[in-house]
């Protein structure tokens, strides 16, 4: 008798979930087809069926700390087979969206990132910052260097501005993530529904390393997701490794620049087109574009009886598209030496990069941290890997 829980549905939470992408969640009638067809779901207490009934009953405390929402890789087989069109895949995504909104502090950012009506504010913040700088350095002009070429540093100085700004942003985002991760793990530990699994494993670091090695780098789960996941597999790989490559390039550029500052060596940008890092950057760009095309094409062709994209999806895709396209065109316009267009495009590039990284902990891209941690946690408690039958 003491085990019986007093249930108090949270009506507002249901409405929030519906707004965050789970609009069809009430249609579910618990037939369990979704859990049966899910290729990744463990046999004990599988997902997404239980999440659907918890969501229908507004059981916020069960959903907030649910580990399983991160085990899901959104292949969509559940929504494909759902006889009611309840779109369980969208609910799992909505739960993650709610997590992005609520896990990291400050909470106001979560709110700003949650609906399109706040987009102007999100754009305005970096736009104003960079416009102020542009005004100060060049009075909104489009200056050229002594050779008559476009040179970004003339408008957006690296030492004084770009690197400090983005370094601070990176440090801030890292700290915000650190707190968010601790918060996330706390919700897992506090969850009334303890994740049931097999054999608990080792320590968190080792399990996280296993996740990175066995799953993330290989994209193994994308392959074992049901249905035809070619677009997602190659698309995500293109974008993922494209960004890793660009990260390496950026790290090199930053390190080289500051090394030059302190040693007097001239290692400033722009790099020669034959510089191996430049080549890497351009190859990465091509990979990114291919990946983006694949995932965008896929998302645009989704059957909307079964899948509904929401703001979180379009925001991230949109921002990455702008980053990649403005980056590519910045280079092309610089090489073609059209300052009048080059600088505005570069300005947009900076704004979009800021939007991608500064707001990272509250966007869909936060999954790169949260899911990794969650998968590591899952191995630690033994919920993953699925026992071989």
């Amino acid at each position: 008798m003491a085990q019986t829980n007093r249930i108090e549905p949270d009506l507002q939470f249901i409405r929030d979930l519906q707004a965050a992408g789970g609009e069809s969640l009430k249609k579910c009638y618990q037939c369990a087809t979704c859990s049966v067809v899910c290729p990744l779901s463990p046999e004990q207490n599988p997902y997404p069926r239980k999440e659907m009934i918890w969501a229908q009953w507004g059981l916020k405390d069960k959903l907030v700390g649910d580990l399983d929402m991160w085990l899901c890789h959104n292949c969509g087989q559940c929504s494909e087979q759902c006889p009611r069109g309840a779109k369980p895949a969208d609910l799992m995504a909505a739960m993650r969206n709610m997590a992005y909104q609520n896990i990291a502090q400050p909470a106001i950012m979560g709110k700003l990132m949650s609906a399109p009506k706040y987009l102007p504010v999100l754009v305005a913040i970096p736009a104003v910052i960079f416009l102020v700088v542009w005004f100060i350095t060049a009075g909104f002009g489009t200056p050229v260097d002594e050779n008559g070429n476009v040179l970004w540093r003339l408008v957006f100085p690296q030492t004084a501005f770009i690197d400090p700004l983005f370094a601070l942003t990176a440090i801030a985002v890292a700290l915000i993530f650190a707190r968010g991760v601790l918060n996330l793990i706390k919700t897992f530990n506090d969850s009334p529904q303890a994740p049931v699994g097999g054999v608990p494993v080792m320590d968190v670091l080792k399990s996280t390393w296993q996740v990175i090695k066995d799953e993330i780098l290989t994209h193994a789960k994308f392959k074992s997701c049901g249905g035809d996941n070619t677009d997602r597999y190659y698309g995500h790989m293109g974008i993922f490794f494209g960004f890793i490559a660009l990260f390496i390039v950026t790290a090199y550029v930053g390190a080289a620049y500051w090394l030059g500052v302190f040693t007097g060596l001239d290692l400033k940008t722009p790099m020669s087109l034959w510089n191996p890092f430049k080549i890497l950057a351009n190859v990465a760009t091509i990979g990114l574009i291919i990946g983006l095309v694949l995932v965008t094409k896929r998302r645009l062709n989704l059957d909307d009886a079964k899948f509904k994209s929401c703001y979180y999806d379009w925001y991230l895709l949109g921002v990455i598209w702008v980053v990649v396209l403005t980056g590519m065109f910045s280079q092309l316009l610089r090489l073609a030496n059209v300052p009048g267009i080059a600088y505005p495009v570069y300005f947009l590039h900076l704004v979009s990069i800021f939007m991608l990284f500064a707001y990272l902990p509250w966007s869909k891209l936060a999954h790169l941290v949260y899911r990794t941690i969650a998968l590591g946690y899952a191995r630690k408690v033994g919920r993953e890997p699925k026992p071989q039958v």
Binding site: T4, L11, K26
Partner: protein, 761 residues
């Protein structure tokens, strides 16, 4: 007796190649030449030429009876019609001879010749056809004075719809309602489950408009505060004795639509059903006893009803919603949360519970959950169910109701209902979809209780029939005036009375309106058939009536008690008094009468007995094979037989099928005649009986079975094995079982019992 019989033998459809029509024609001419002046064959009798040939003979008055030896009587009946001057008899040479023939090993006919056993079979069938045609007398229709008024009992949604329907089609309607106002429960409902596209929102009932239309209609006479005291007479000529505030009035009516509806489930009621075995009631008291209602413990008390103030039923909830706001009974505060427990007091074999599902309560709970949500944006409604029963298109309503964020559904077993200090109700449920036992606290608990029909413990129709005032055997349907057969949904056990709405089956208002339309159309069909002397269902268009030779009647009362439709009343002496318009022409009375007093012009004891005796039965079972007569009921068994032959099934060539109207019409003298002729066995194929009966005359096959058990004794005294007579139940889709039934019976006769000792006498 006619002696101008024309015999026409078809050669189409495998009959010609297998049977040699010319040979058969010769046989007819040699044995029946006197009565059959015309014997012809044709390559395809149902063709224009074939038909013209027969018509020419009829027109020339060469024949006045036509025996068509071709396919089954169930096909081409529209072709083989030759006007009023000729009566057509069909001999089934195709399905029953050509298609189903198996040649036995003992048949040593030479190649190229028609096998002996096949020839004998075809000849027997032709013999029987000719004899039947000879004995046939054309019936004359008896046309009574018919009152073309429809009595509608019950002024709720169903009754109002039926009344309007009948009036719109030009019939006078008398609507009798026992309350002071029309509208029934529909007038007390806040909203109803939708019955039209898009099926997603509950709608306001339009019963007020119906009431206005009915009261304004010149063809409808409305009597409120009125009850039907007695219904005397017979369909087409009933007298309804109606009592209202002004006293009693005798109103002539023709047919009746029963739409008296339902009553809410009473958790303290216990229904006691009397034994209804017709045969055992020997006295002249009512054969049909209405169940009585006794008081017992409140079976809903464990769910808090009658114990806690804030536990009500779905009926209480509806009335409250109609009045205005949803308020807690205990303190009048607005309801913020409500829980519904489905199947309360239903779908259970426990004492005092209803064993059935009332069909509407799941949808009603969804609707009432919507009431709370409509009146309170933050209201929460919980539905705990065993199953959500939302038949057919109502699934769309369920889907739409589910989409409301404030309605929570789960399967579960209610373990406990308790009351909190502030009057709130705490419901504990186990085995829920949430994966754990749960406890919820709500302001109001609604028990989704069921409905019981008004006919449960009350005759309602109050017939002045010898068999009693009520419908018989309603305990088969838990008291609902149902007929348990998909083929005739509005029929009851009393001709001329058609049930609709919730007295018929639990149903939604929209379905009840469809039901009302069907029932009133049946009521009209009844009147428009009786005024031509015709039966309604299932022998639609039949003008023959059972005729009684009262001189030989011994007042044994078997016919009056066994008639499934109560068509026979009796006088003080016990002499049966037929009421022809109540009759469905099944012939159960004919089968019942030990003195063979009853007969139809077109179907009688002598006719079938003559057919049996006309068969050629070999004296030696080893030389000529056994002979078995199979009586086949025309409703399910004969079609199954045809289908079996059509599907290529085969069986013994030693059986002879004789179609009968119903196994209930089989008189035991036919068994005796068969035995004395030397026939080795009698197999009876008819519709199912029992709880899931399919007998189209309700009781015919069951009575036949009982009679056959009784004659086992008689057979024993004659040194005949009782197993020589067996009855099998055949559903219309059991065609694949027929060969097996015949084979088992034949093997039993040949291997176990052996030849009829009376052969060759």
């Amino acid at each position: 007796m006619s002696n101008k019989i024309g015999v026409y033998i078809c050669e189409g459809c495998d009959i010609g190649p297998q049977l040699n029509a010319g040979q058969l024609a010769e046989f007819v001419q040699s044995e029946y030449g006197g009565t059959c002046p015309v014997v012809k064959t044709a390559p395809v009798l149902c063709s224009q030429e074939g038909k013209a040939m027969i018509q020419a003979d009829v027109d020339a008055e060469a024949v006045d009876r036509v025996v068509v030896c071709a396919c089954s009587p169930r096909v081409k009946w529209d072709v083989f019609r030759f006007g009023d001057k000729a009566v057509v008899e069909r001999v089934n040479l195709r399905e029953q001879c050509a298609w189903s023939y198996t040649r036995p090993e003992t048949d040593e006919t030479a190649e190229g010749e028609v096998p002996e056993t096949l020839r004998m079979m075809a000849q027997d069938y032709i013999r029987m056809g000719i004899v039947k045609s000879q004995k046939y007398q054309k019936a004359e229709a008896e046309i009574p004075e018919v009152t073309k008024t429809i009595l509608v009992l019950g002024g709720g949604n169903t009754g109002l719809t039926a009344a309007l329907g009948g009036a719109k089609l030009g019939y006078d309607v008398v609507l009798v309602e026992k309350e002071a106002q029309l509208g029934g429960f529909a007038a007390k409902m806040y909203k109803q489950v939708p019955y039209s596209y898009p099926y997603t929102q509950a709608v306001t009932p339009d019963v007020d408009q119906k009431i206005n239309a009915v009261t304004a209609h010149e063809k409808i006479r409305v009597l409120t505060n009125a009850t039907l005291e007695k219904l005397e007479g017979a369909p087409g000529m009933y007298t309804a004795v109606v009592k209202n505030g002004n006293g009693e009035e005798n109103i002539p009516v023709g047919s009746v639509v029963l739409a008296t509806g339902w009553k809410p489930f009473d958790p303290t009621a216990r229904v006691v059903v009397a034994d209804q075995t017709a045969c055992e009631a020997q006295d002249s008291e009512a054969v049909v006893e209405t169940p009585a209602v006794e008081k017992g413990e409140n079976v809903l008390e464990p769910l808090g009803y009658g114990k806690f103030t804030n536990v009500i039923t779905n009926v209480d909830m509806e009335l409250m919603a109609k009045k205005g706001d949803l308020l807690r009974p205990s303190d009048g505060r607005p309801v913020q949360s409500v829980a519904f427990i489905q199947c309360a007091g239903q779908r259970s074999s426990e004492e005092g519970h209803l064993p059935y599902c009332s069909s509407v309560c799941c949808m009603v709970s969804l609707k009432q959950a919507g009431y709370l949500r409509e009146k309170n944006e933050n209201g929460k409604a919980f539905i705990i169910y065993k199953d959500m029963i939302v038949p057919g298109v109502q699934e769309l309503y369920y889907k739409a109701a589910q989409d409301d964020p404030g309605i929570f559904l789960t399967k579960g077993e209610v373990a406990e209902v308790a009351e909190d200090g502030d009057g709130g109700i705490i419901v504990t449920a186990k085995d829920t979809l949430l994966g754990e036992d749960i406890e919820i606290k709500v302001d109001l608990l609604v028990l989704a209780t069921g409905m019981v029909p008004t006919t449960l413990a009350d005759p309602v129709v109050n017939l002045s029939y010898r068999q009693g005032p009520a419908f018989p055997d309603l305990q088969l349907f838990n008291g609902f005036a149902d007929s348990n057969y998909i083929c005739f949904p509005y029929e009851t056990r009393r001709t001329g009375i058609y049930s609709a709405g919730c007295v018929h089956q639990p149903m939604l208002m929209g379905a009840a309106e469809d039901d009302a339309a069907g029932a009133v159309l049946k009521a009209i069909q009844c009147l428009e058939s009786i005024n031509r002397g015709m039966a309604v269902h299932p022998r639609s268009g039949d003008i023959s009536f059972p005729k009684f030779n009262m001189v030989r009647c011994t007042q044994c009362k078997r016919c009056t008690e066994e008639c499934p439709f109560g068509a026979l009343d009796d006088d003080e002496k016990g002499t049966p008094k037929p009421n022809p318009t109540r009759c469905r022409r099944c012939g159960t009375c004919m089968g019942a009468c030990p003195e063979r007093v009853i007969s139809f012009d077109e179907y009688n004891v002598d006719m079938i007995a003559s057919m049996i005796k006309e068969n050629e039965v070999p004296d030696d079972i080893d030389e000529g094979g056994p002979r078995v007569i199979v009586f086949v009921c025309e409703n399910d068994a004969y079609p199954a037989l045809d289908m079996a032959a059509f599907q290529g099934k085969k069986w013994s060539p030693y059986v002879r099928f004789i179609p009968v109207r119903c196994l209930g019409s089989i008189n035991t003298i036919w068994i005796a005649d068969a035995m004395s002729k030397g026939i080795d066995g009698v197999l009876l194929l008819g519709c199912k009986y029992g709880d899931d009966y399919q007998c189209h005359f309700a009781k015919g096959s069951e009575l036949c079975n009982r009679r056959m058990e009784n004659i086992a004794e008689t057979l024993g005294r004659l040194q005949l094995e009782p197993e020589r007579v067996q009855q099998k139940q055949v559903a219309i889709d059991d065609y694949d079982l027929i060969p097996q039934m015949i084979e088992e019976f034949m093997n039993h006769i040949i291997d176990d019992i052996g030849a009829n000792p009376y052969k060759g006498f």
